[in-house]
Symmetry: C2
Subunit: 366 residues, 2 copies
């Protein structure tokens, strides 16, 4: 894979199509500007629209082909009007997380200059944290593969929350490595285990394994918080946190909450990383009401693309990918700082294409 | 019960003792000022300290006695240093919720004048919402009775999330009645079902039952939100919400989050109401580090006491209890407005006793 990386591209539904296009254009521009590395995209059809049309949520052999690529890029999946008989939405990406063991859901949250701020305290300008959401088990164990829930007539439904040692060890190890890596870039190097160990044996188990792994990383500051207290601390003093590691459902809630503090889902980049491959996608939904209107904010997708380039550098050993990723991040950072990136989502005048063009112009310069 | 209400009083651990004392004093002063109704308190020992000393988390026949009273008042329970072998904390109150079917966890959140505000937007001064947290099943089904989780060696732990039609019908019905009642007091009269129906069949079931009950309340505006989007909306536009009804674990997280927007847990009152009885307690923890130092903010307990008086009025048909409750709320409101209530928790100079005395002085006047 040294020079050419193969990317499985699932545009999906709604604005997934719009923002995937933007992310591809930016990633292409970044590797072209950098030179010495190439991306090859392989389109795979999947999603709620595909399900409506064909009865399948992904094209034949689509999963195998996605798994065979170096990485998977996804726009967004789901349409509220297209559902399974049990009321849930079409979510082949949950099955991809399960099938490829994409346990490490990495969701960075930072205050970009000139992006909206919700908190009154000026320290909110210093928000720079990562929520590491376990992405294959926890409460989503039930939903990872459609049909695992226990439906008892019209009287009762049960789901299973599952915490395994195998996945939890890898997750916490990932968390400590991430915190260490961020310390090298000037962050505190702190990992907070977010659980509900006071109430659930599964969560006490999650915390026990955290302690075991922590012993191997004496240079990283390890701490705990209960998930309810963490929700409160995220509105009271989010600037005190660096990396936090948590169960799947908790991470889903906390990452939207944290994203909301600094501009909303339009900046919510996401990587889901396993032992063999990684899936990169904005954490936002498919917003079918604004699809195809050049209104969606493409930045979450563009920044997810940068995370993918970083991942490809690690995987291939080709540092050009990492430099291309840094170009993208710098372009977004500088664009915000110069007030040259003004997405409609934040009340600005720039649609999907204008934001994308501005990022591309800047990374070619940088 | 017309004139005399019998209250089971569990002071519990840590500052639970401090704030329960404050709540009792205020409730007594309120019924005395009102006249025509009387409270009789029956002390029951329970909690982590009691467990450490006796090996039991509640005194013999304590549960039966609690259930036989007209209502239960609880300070706070739990000590981080006292745990079960599986790592969880001592939580007899979870068993009380289960045993007495206290499905309706009512957690009001409002912006009091001069209390801390976290959000920059001035509309945050208008926050006035209630989180209705189902409190007997959902993910807590596993934890309601200690020992229900499935522990598989040192390799895996599983919990069960359970949604039943019987409880969910009652819960949503409670929610619609609450929204209607609030509309009569000038609020919008809006009920939002907060779930994760896109992913979990149990949550789609929860929403389906919501729709069924909604049909009986055409005068209440019914809406939906996914729990992750709700966490985001709570930081972006909490003033748009009135009552929201949700699963147990979701409600635990969202109520701390919402409480954090308007001053933190020191104002987080809570009622847990079933068909036969109700339990009233501040939603905060036992904070053993500051116990007995006259530093705890007693307002969450005092306001939980007011919710208890309101409940007693409904239960007994004696309106004096409701007027006593209104006195307490008005005293807190006016005290804040006059900047005469300045709890240490908010950087003020008033300890537990001073805040309590101020509330009592005001309700005797009113
Ligand atoms: C759409 C949904 C399946 C998904 C999830 O809950 O994982 C989304 O909320 C996310 O955060 O990626
Ligand atoms: C202490 C704990 C058992 C409790 C809960 O999770 O219910 C608390 O967080 C609450 O919100 O009342």
């Amino acid at each position: 894979m040294a020079e050419t990386a193969r990317i499985a591209l699932i545009r999906g539904d709604g604005i997934g199509v719009d923002v995937a296009g933007a992310a591809v254009a930016v990633a292409e521009a970044a590797v072209a500007a950098e030179g010495g590395c190439v991306l090859r995209w392989e389109e795979i059809h999947a999603g709620a629209g595909y399900f409506r049309d064909t009865g399948h949520d992904i094209e034949p052999r689509g999963e195998e082909r996605a798994g065979a690529a170096d990485a998977i890029f996804l726009g967004a999946i789901g349409l509220p009007a297209v559902r399974h008989a049990d009321g849930t939405e079409i979510s082949p990406h949950l099955r991809l997380r399960d099938r490829f063991g994409l346990y490490a859901g990495v969701r960075p949250v930072r205050a970009w200059p000139n992006a909206p701020q919700r908190l009154a305290d000026p320290r909110a300008a210093g928000i720079d944290l990562v929520i590491l959401r376990e992405s294959t088990e926890g409460l989503f164990y039930s939903a990872a593969v459609h049909g695992r829930s226990r439906i008892i007539g019209d009287e009762e439904v049960r789901e299973t929350l599952r915490i395994t040692r195998a996945t939890t060890e890898k997750l916490h190890d990932f968390g400590f490595r991430l915190a260490r890596k961020r310390r090298d870039r000037g962050r505190p190097g702190r990992l907070t285990c977010v659980d509900k160990a006071n109430v659930f044996p599964s969560m006490a188990f999650f915390r026990k394994i955290f302690d075991e792994i922590a012993a191997r990383y004496p240079d990283v500051e390890a701490g705990y918080n209960y998930v309810d207290a963490m929700a409160l601390d995220l509105v009271r003093r989010p600037w005190d946190f660096d990396v936090m590691v948590t169960e799947n459902m908790f991470g889903d809630i906390l990452s939207d909450l944290a994203g909301g503090l600094v501009g909303g889902m339009g900046l919510a980049a996401c990587a889901e990383i396993g032992d063999e491959t990684g899936l990169f996608q904005p954490a936002h939904g498919s917003a079918p009401d604004i699809m195809g209107q050049d209104r969606a904010n493409p930045l979450a997708a563009i920044l997810s693309g940068a995370m993918m380039l970083d991942y490809l550098a690690d995987k291939s050993g080709n540092d050009r990918f990492a430099r291309a990723a840094a170009r993208v991040e710098r372009a977004v950072e500088d664009g915000f700082a110069a007030n040259a990136i003004r997405p409609m989502e934040f009340g600005g005048d720039m649609g999907t294409r204008a934001v994308t063009a501005e990022v591309i112009a800047r990374l070619e310069g940088g």
